[in-house]
Symmetry: C2
Subunit: 380 residues, 2 copies
């Protein structure tokens, strides 16, 4: 389908739907008898019991199954800072996917503020009805502080999906890509192009998984200990990456690299850049909808395994493989925090779903059987 066709069809479909989710009663309310049990006077016994022992909320209320999908609209898809209402169609879509993929009930909340303190306190105040919080499309660097503070304040799982969902999907894909090109995963030289939410989380998870040589780049070049302009999360990344101390451009970093992971924006690389890399190069160009380098161009440069975020090319590396299973597992097992160990396990389980990885098939598709279960069983 051409780009304009998709846009037109999507607009028409959204207008027809008038919102992508609906609220439905769990059981019918058709008589006074139904009402007297689900509402007054019967509900008083339930409210009293839950008020006395808050832990009962997981059994007697939606808290046992409801995830909040929350955004401030500051970094929506590749569209940037388009605000709360602009973000709403994406958050609704995510809520619909939660149900379609994993039978998880999720509700979209879009915030009319982009102030970190206000965001944190608002999420904490509305948290009681929810069994988990999926943070979505918050811009870096605010996203790091927001996630940390909300996590620390609540006893339900909190995950910024742009960070960790992406990181888990990328790790799964890279494990299988290394297998395809017959290189030792832990010895890969990896370049992460982009130091935002996704780039930061991908880098940290790769290090946790045992990869030793990761170079991260922001728009100005490689992050390194010699960069005087770094602070916050970029400075922290510079401390733990770039072991060969490469100072310079993307091209400098790519020289001899085994894999490049694009988490920045369209048109970053050309075929000539791929040619700088080691033999059998792995190229993941995950900017949406337009990748850092188009697959055809990457192939021209000699890439052996190519992944994107798109559904119209092989190897769609997308967090829709991850978030439904993460929260399915968290709810089923009453997990309070999503740990690094769970993320590593989820990535390995996801990779293992592809029995015989090939250059055209390093990750399962989101509609493949077993995806949700593979991820969910890592979260316990």
């Amino acid at each position: 389908m051409k780009k304009n066709d998709t846009a037109k069809k999507a607009l028409a479909l959204h207008k027809k739907m008038g919102g992508k989710i609906r609220i439905t009663p769990a059981m019918p309310i058709k008589s006074r008898a139904d009402m007297s049990l689900q509402y007054t006077p019967g509900v008083a016994a339930v409210s009293t019991a839950v008020a006395k022992n808050n832990k009962l909320a997981r059994d007697y209320t939606i808290k046992g199954k409801m995830i909040a999908v929350i955004s401030d609209g500051s970094a929506v898809l590749g569209l940037g800072n388009i605000g709360a209402l602009g973000a709403l169609p994406v958050m609704e879509g995510k809520a619909a996917l939660f149900k379609a993929f994993a039978n998880v009930d999720a509700f979209p909340i879009v915030l009319d503020t982009q102030n970190v303190d206000e965001i944190v306190e608002t999420i904490i105040r509305i948290a009681p009805a929810f069994g988990g919080i999926n943070l979505e499309d918050f811009a870096a660097p605010n996203c790091f502080e927001i996630e940390e503070r909300v996590k620390a304040a609540l006893d339900i799982p909190v995950m910024h999906d742009d960070q960790h969902g992406t990181a888990i999907a990328v790790l799964a894909a890279l494990i299988n890509a290394a297998h395809v090109v017959k290189k030792d995963f832990k010895k890969l030289k990896v370049v992460v192009a982009g130091a935002g939410a996704a780039g930061t989380a991908v880098t940290k998870l790769l290090l946790k998984a045992g990869v030793k040589d990761v170079i991260v780049l922001d728009r100005k070049g490689t992050l390194s200990k010699t960069r005087a302009d770094l602070s916050g999360h970029k400075q922290a990344l510079a401390e733990i990456t770039n072991p060969r101390g490469i100072d310079g451009t993307l091209q400098d970093a790519l020289r001899g690299a085994d894999a490049v992971l694009g988490v920045s924006g369209p048109g970053l690389m050309k075929a000539a850049d791929v040619q700088l890399m080691a033999q059998k190069a792995i190229v993941f160009a995950m900017a949406n909808p337009t990748p850092e380098i188009m697959p055809e161009e990457a192939k021209k440069g000699g890439a052996a395994v190519i992944g994107t975020g798109r559904s119209d090319y092989p190897n769609q590396i997308n967090n829709s493989l991850v978030f439904p299973g993460i929260f399915r597992g968290a709810l089923d097992n009453k997990v309070k925090k999503i740990t690094d160990e769970m993320k590593l396990k989820a990535a390995k389980n996801l990779a293992a779903l592809v029995k015989k990885p090939t250059a055209e098939k390093i990750v399962p598709g989101p509609f493949d059987r077993g995806v949700v279960e593979a991820v969910a069983k890592a979260v316990r």
Copy 2:
């Protein structure tokens, strides 16, 4: 059903349901093609359009149909201040009723704060996804300030149902009760027992409807201009009510009164109190689940028309007659404020649904045909 039976059955049913509402996708998502229209890349066109023109959110997102049912748990049913999680079963029930009665999608939000400033700012910040706000079970006097401030800040309808839903139902019932006892509605001498959220709103709406002689009581006695201990909303009520300047007890107020509206708590009145009233007295004892006076006792005192909040006696005067229709009408007609004129019209329409009012039938039941439509058509 006995009280304990209801409680047991309600607890068992709630445990079986695990929350009374579910999220369902508006349309199935079963293929990559579905996903590309409802999620990326298609959703980008929708987000862009809505971000450019926020008014489109009503057509393209859930904002056109979603109501937030919000509580801080400070005055839940007759249970008092039981907090956010205690309130959640009631708010879920209300969301389920919204759908069952009026096909309105509603989602429960319970707040982990009872501070007025925090409540107001939190509601404003989460408002973008909603087409209306139903405030529920906020205690007086905070409820007045919260409603006023949220209403002023937002361009979607905001209604504290304990106030206005109750007031509309009571006005409808009183119109028909006056008809049954063949008294001129506007000349009724009315005693409102209770100066909280419901009592205040009932009183104001009766005055708007043309009733001249209303006396309101709090626990200490009649509200009057001579009471030195009054402030805030009670002082304001004293200014506009009690034209005969009655200072004293409930009994002093009841002497010669045509109607008493109980919006306080159980056991306030006895048969002897009803005997103080005028001939063909109207007694609405609406405390839940135990009324101010049981219907049998009121009858013993000579009451001609008796209403309660209960489903097991005739004349259940309950805001479930009102809130579904109010928000159905508000959404359908893109109404930004619920005005006093709409409330009066809603009460009159509701009263008119009972073609031939009798002492046993002054209001329709919530499952009667036409209830939602009668109320909804007043909101435009």
